[in-house]
Subunit: 208 residues, 2 copies
């Protein structure tokens, strides 16, 4: 698995989404010529990506939708549930708690924390905000897989360190800060505004 | 500007966020040794990144916070307002309309569209949902810079094509589909679940 390029791994969830749609449409099999366009990927690249993980397709008949779905879920680890804690229950944290896409894919936020005493105890999207001081003991006493960081930028690095020290090894970072990775800690940054600004930069310099 | 690496451009918004915090704290100047850690970037890399755009720092005194802020805003194009349309007003679209981070950075959603007649006319976060059939004429009659795609995966590619044909040249794509780029169209994909799954993949294969 160490030889699988990151770019291939990043496309697997996209194939899985396309297969979910195909299954909902009642399709039993799908050729790479159809799966490709649905995922926005060249059919050839689909075949090449999937070949990293064995031989899924049957000569001339394409892939079995349900079997490939199950295999991708197993590969991605989403055949099980992953529990997450959210740190930061301000405006951004609220939007994350209300985000509809996590649970359906097996990602469940099981607790939310904040340092702001005026937020503690408040019920947000059915989740009671806990004091940040309880974060470490909570993570250590429960099985928590992933930490979501939605704190102000100045607090992001310290939050990542605390999560890491408590035993968490995967972080989804919404704070607009580049988090440096201690060995063994995975971090993915998701900030739609930074994505926008990397486009407006290029749009603003087309004449220059 | 064509010689600036994408990775450098991606860090500029992060520096800007750190400067915003420094300004709020009343700091007048900042050395790369302080700006770096706040952005999560090596001080040396900060200096190298900024040197692409001229000489900002004063020997031994660091950067002037307000001047560097203004320069980064100018570089990123966020010294002006960017107008956006949202396509797809389902659960995901609602979360996007409620997202607090866009307006403060100059990104304003000016209209939302959906094909679902049961949603049309509904008021979501103060925005009235318009019929998708009006999308092209709306974009062509107003200055719209950016299209946000929050439609189901199967509709994402067609939506991107419609936006592109209507004259939009930058797309923020929340649908879990790889969008292929016609020349001149910028696309950034933002899907937190895909980010999560690229971590759970690696976490699930640590023993293998």
């Amino acid at each position: 698995m160490n030889l699988v390029p990151n770019l291939v791994v990043d496309r697997l969830p996209v194939y899985l989404r396309a297969l979910n749609v195909l299954e909902a449409e009642g399709k039993k099999t799908v050729r790479s010529e159809e799966l490709g366009p649905r995922a926005g990927v060249n059919p050839e690249l689909v075949r090449k990506d999937l070949s990293y993980f064995g031989r899924f397709g049957k000569q001339g008949r394409g892939y079995e939708v349900v079997a490939l779905q199950a295999e991708l879920r197993r590969l991605l680890g989403t055949d099980r549930q992953w529990s997450m804690v959210l740190v930061g229950a301000g405006h951004l944290g609220r939007a994350i708690l209300a985000y509809p896409g996590f649970v359906s894919e097996g990602f469940v936020i099981i607790a939310a924390f904040d340092t702001d005493t005026s937020l503690i105890g408040e019920l947000i999207s059915g989740m009671r905000v806990r004091p940040a001081g309880e974060l470490v003991s909570f993570v250590q006493s429960r099985r928590v897989d992933i930490g979501i960081i939605a704190v102000p930028p100045a607090a992001a690095r310290r939050t990542a360190e605390v999560l890491h020290e408590a035993g968490i090894r995967a972080i989804l970072n919404y704070a607009p800060v580049m988090l440096r990775l201690p060995p063994g800690l995975l971090v993915r940054n998701v900030d739609p505004v930074i994505a926008l600004e990397s486009m407006t930069f290029w749009r603003s310099h087309e004449v220059a």
